[in-house]
């Protein structure tokens, strides 16, 4: 059992370090290893693995701005600016301790839930999801700082993007314009990659030498400082963990909802004077705590009732069937020992991850600090790989590029990118919960105790947050904001017109979103007319490493990503005056690792992309 625990923790940690692998793929890849043990030890192996994946995903998120999932994107927002400011070690330490404490709280919640598991599962349904979604959308104002009208406008854009695809109520196409690839909706990983990774990567070209030095000097003591910082915010960790546990308990609710709600909550408690998204340490602590704790909540419906609480847990259920490890209500009674063993596994794995993290972090931080510009092609390639490992289609590449353009534009305008993601995640949840609530409960939803409870809590939080926003509200005074708002006004007018062609049931929500967005855009334009000019920001330029990135992309198309990476690394290492044979070995190893990785998951990436594009073998 101990071997299963240690091996699972180690492999889970490694799976999390590689963007594109993460929890779900990691479990599938490692299932054969679990079969070497008896069913319970196999289950311990998988749970240990799953428990620490989210701990290590924060390392590439903070050090390289490389989120694996929508959940990790929240960590990037403040973690990467902290790393850029030379506080990467602190951010990583805070992330580590928040993850560990969150995981422990989640495991504790799982144990506490045993006597009341059935009741907990019955409390929450679509009416509560609707309240959560509305609250989440309101939190955009917190994430957007003083320019919260622009934030709401961006959230509407995210909401509209999430409406692309088949309408769930009528199965009619919405905003697909004949492109079949997007009937399932936009690819969330491609959207995140474009929106967050590309702008952050391109900003690396502007780095000063002092930035390099600060990051390279990250020490274990900095990580310890970060861990201590988390301990000073235990209240936030605890509350964020509660968000995680609560969302984990509710099957059908996306796991990133917990993370973003926790992030938004951290925003309401931010008293540093630094806007969220510009390097606030609590912006790292809250999402990490929620991310790890939610798995404790998700274990309740999964293990006791066979209802997967998250997508990873759905794969875990299949794995349990293969292992022959029974699940179900017996884990609440006769087999309760198994429940305790699995809870103890989560606890132990989260604690075991701490030394692993401390060993790994200094190496990775140094890697991140070396030749930052040269990391760009790798980061973009990995991000693209994560987006397309399931479906390599032109459409996904197009979405990635379009999202990147939007991300760059929003970054330049200093409009909130998280607001877009919040709209993108919460929007569909709001729409579908609204449909379900109106059809099943109607007004009687307000008689549900859980609904009333959530309404009271969230109304209080929203009121408090609104008061704070009112105090700091300022209208945008930049010309660029007006132009962007004007473009969006036209865009949403076109969207509104398009909704008139939909079936009535399919058009309600898109029309509402477009109408609200047009009002917000008009407000920004009017505000500029009332209080014109003054605050024009300088435009940054000087993408000195841009051309190497372009050459890498062309190389990937012509000779395939592994070989292109290998050659690129060779050039970089020789340029750094590394001895040629060491450079050859290192770059060869890099290519081999990538080749192995791609062949395990999506072999097409190992080939020159040009072959795939010509033969359309890209799926």
């Amino acid at each position: 059992m101990a071997a299963a625990l240690v091996t699972g923790t180690l492999l889970g940690f490694i799976a999390g370090l590689v963007p594109g692998i993460g929890g779900r793929i990691g479990i599938i890849l490692c299932l054969p290893i679990a079969l070497f043990w008896d069913p319970l030890a196999g289950a311990v192996f998988l749970f240990a693995m799953h428990s620490v994946v989210h701990t290590s995903t924060s390392i590439p998120a903070i050090a390289f701005a490389l989120p694996s999932t929508a959940s990790d994107a929240a960590t990037v927002l403040d973690g990467y600016p902290l790393a850029k400011a030379g506080r990467g070690g602190e951010a990583l330490g805070a992330s580590l301790s928040a993850s560990a404490i969150g995981g422990v709280i989640g495991a504790g919640a799982f144990l506490l839930a045993i006597p009341i598991a059935r009741m907990l599962l019955r409390w929450f349904g679509p009416p509560e999801f609707l309240i959560l979604a509305i609250f989440g959308l309101c939190m955009v104002t917190v994430l957007s700082g003083r320019n919260w009208i622009a934030g709401l406008l961006v959230a509407c854009l995210g909401f509209a993007a999430a409406l692309v695809g088949l309408d769930v109520q009528t199965s009619a196409d919405r905003f697909t314009f004949g492109f079949h690839e997007i009937s399932d909706g936009l690819n969330i990983v491609a959207v995140i990659g474009g929106l967050f990774v590309v702008p952050e990567m391109l900003s690396r070209f502007k780095f000063t030498q002092s930035g390099h030095d600060q990051a390279a000097n990250t020490r274990i003591s900095d990580v310890i400082v970060g861990m201590k910082t988390t301990l000073r915010h235990l209240g936030l960790v605890f509350r964020s963990s509660l968000y995680g546990i609560g969302i984990g308990l509710m099957p059908g609710l996306g796991s990133s909802v917990a993370v973003w709600l926790a992030y938004a909550y951290a925003g309401t408690k931010n008293k540093t004077g630094i806007p969220m998204g510009q390097g606030v340490i609590t912006g790292v602590i809250a999402p990490e705590a929620a991310n790890n704790s939610k798995e404790g909540g998700a274990m309740v419906p999964t293990l006791f009732f066979g209802i997967p609480g998250s997508s990873s847990m759905a794969i875990m259920l299949g794995a349990f069937a293969v292992l022959g490890q029974p699940i179900g209500p017996a884990l609440l009674t006769t087999d309760i020992g198994v429940s305790y063993t699995l809870a103890a596994t989560v606890l132990a794995a989260n604690i075991l991850a701490i030394p692993l993290f401390l060993i790994t972090v200094p190496l990775i931080v140094r890697l991140a600090a070396l030749q930052r510009a040269h990391m760009v092609p790798f980061a973009i390639a990995i991000s693209l790989f994560a987006a397309t490992y399931q479906a390599m289609q032109f459409g996904v590449l197009f979405q990635f590029v379009l999202s990147a353009a939007l991300g760059l534009l929003l970054k330049r305008l200093e409009w909130s990118r998280p607001a877009f993601l919040l709209g993108f995640i919460m929007g569909p949840l709001a729409e579908i919960s609204f449909i379900q609530t109106s059809q099943i409960w109607g007004w009687s939803m307000f008689l549900r105790p859980a609904t009333i409870g959530l309404l009271v809590v969230f109304s209080a939080l929203a009121w408090k947050s609104a008061k704070a926003s009112a105090r700091t509200f300022s209208v945008s005074q930049r010309r660029s904001d007006s132009w962007a708002a004007f473009a969006l006004l036209l865009g949403f007018a076109a969207i509104f017109r398009e909704t008139t062609t939909f079936a009535p049931h399919a058009s309600h929500v898109p029309a509402l979103v477009a109408a609200v967005a047009m009002c917000l855009a008009a407000m920004i334009i009017i505000a500029r007319q009332v209080a014109p000019d003054s605050n024009v920001q300088p435009v940054h330029s000087g993408f000195s490493g841009f051309w190497p990135a372009i050459f890498f992309c062309i190389g990937a198309i012509l000779v395939g990503i592994p070989l292109a990476s290998s050659l690129y690394a060779l050039g970089v290492l020789i340029g750094m005056k590394v001895r040629w044979h060491i450079a050859v070995v290192c770059s060869g190893l890099l290519g081999a690792v990538q080749l192995g990785l791609f062949s395990l998951t999506s072999y097409i990436w190992a080939e020159p992309l040009v072959i795939g594009l010509w033969t359309e073998r890209l799926f």
Binding site: F305, I315, G318, G328, I432, I440
Partner: protein, 352 residues
């Protein structure tokens, strides 16, 4: 902790089976190598559907290393246009479809002109899923048939989308059992079970899986009647069948349609104008894949249940699913319209 003792034996057996199967590889490889095989996948490229296709595509490529395999996902209504495109592929080209036949069969029954081709004309190659289904109820629902047939409001039944097989079947079941239900969309698989367990939904059609077994054992979900399937051993043997719940005047053909539709999972087919030699090769390919020990192991590891049925048996099922005479077709459509009316007005009675 013990290392599985029979692992060596399993590997040996797998190697022997692989060697035996390799003889059959030669024929279809010869026929299909150097060509391009287009696959129209009639479901979503996400979740379970994506995993299902990923499993097959991996092993198709392994069995056909010299064949280019292209896939195009066409979910929901797009599958209808996909069928039309597939039927119009040039003679001599290689194209197959992987679809859930019941979803498209209902479209053909509802509006034959909507599909540019008759599903009954296709070369059905292999069915890869056959399912057992029950109608389940929430724990505290009164199961008296008269009471079920006379609720004040239609009983709530969660489904994923309005065009899914579960959704169509539920409407028809309303009509032929006289138990009025209202489909509420937007529930994925786990949310459906959770909603029923929470008591927010009343009924649910559920596939017989180990997960369902857990819910039934705990008493959180109560089986009401079996819809279709041979593998209902996990349930109480005295569980009533669909026939026991039919209204006296419910047409048997509609009940047979429901059972056929609900029990049929995903299946492969080739367009009618496909060369017979290609049809034989494709059939041999798919049969070899589902018997391949590596495929079986991968399917088990990924929790994907595979239950193959031959092309001939599948073709018979499709013929039963899509009635050829207008009267039988009208009967199904009439039942469907009545079921939809019952979802609005639970007092509505169906006449056939």
């Amino acid at each position: 902790m013990t290392i599985t003792g029979s692992l060596k034996r399993v590997f040996c057996a797998a190697a022997v089976m692989a060697l035996t199967a390799s003889g059959a590889f030669a024929d279809y490889r010869e026929q299909l190598s150097g060509r391009t095989l287009n696959v129209m996948v009639g479901f979503s490229n996400s979740g379970g559907g994506a995993r299902f296709w990923s499993l097959f595509s991996t092993h198709m490529r392994r069995h056909l290393p010299d064949t280019i395999i292209r896939a195009e996902f066409k979910d929901g209504p797009l599958a209808v246009t996909g069928i039309g495109e597939l039927y119009q592929t040039e003679v001599g080209s290689l194209a197959i479809g992987l679809i859930r036949p019941p979803e498209l069969a209902f479209v053909q029954i509802d509006d034959p002109a909507a599909i540019a081709g008759d599903l009954r004309d296709a070369h059905w190659l292999l069915s890869v899923e056959n399912l057992s289904y029950i109608m389940a109820a929430r724990a505290n629902l009164k199961l008296d048939l008269d009471q079920l047939r006379n609720p004040a409001e239609p009983l709530i039944l969660p489904v994923s989308d309005p065009l899914s097989t579960a959704s169509r079947v539920s409407v028809l079941l309303s009509a032929i059992t006289g138990i009025p239900t209202r489909n509420v969309v937007g529930f994925d698989r786990s949310a459906r079970a959770a909603t029923l367990m929470a008591g927010d939904a009343d009924l649910l059609t559920l596939g017989l899986t180990s997960e369902l077994e857990a819910l039934i054992t705990s008493g959180d979900v109560v089986p009401l009647y079996s819809i279709v399937g041979d593998d209902l051993s996990a349930l109480d043997p005295s569980l009533p069948a669909l026939a026991d719940f039919l209204t006296p005047d419910a047409p048997e053909s509609v009940a047979a349609f429901v059972q056929s539709a609900r029990g049929m999972g995903r299946a492969f087919f080739a367009a009618p104008n496909t060369d017979p030699a290609d049809v034989a090769a494709l059939t041999a390919l798919l049969e070899a894949i589902v018997k391949d020990p590596d495929f079986i192991k991968d399917a088990q590891l990924q929790g994907i249940p595979i239950a193959a049925k031959s092309g001939e048996a599948l073709a018979q099922q499709i013929d039963a699913l899509i009635p050829s005479d207008d009267a039988a077709r009208a009967l199904i459509l009439n039942a469907y319209a009545c079921g939809l009316e019952m979802s609005l007005n639970p007092r509505h009675e169906c006449t056939y």
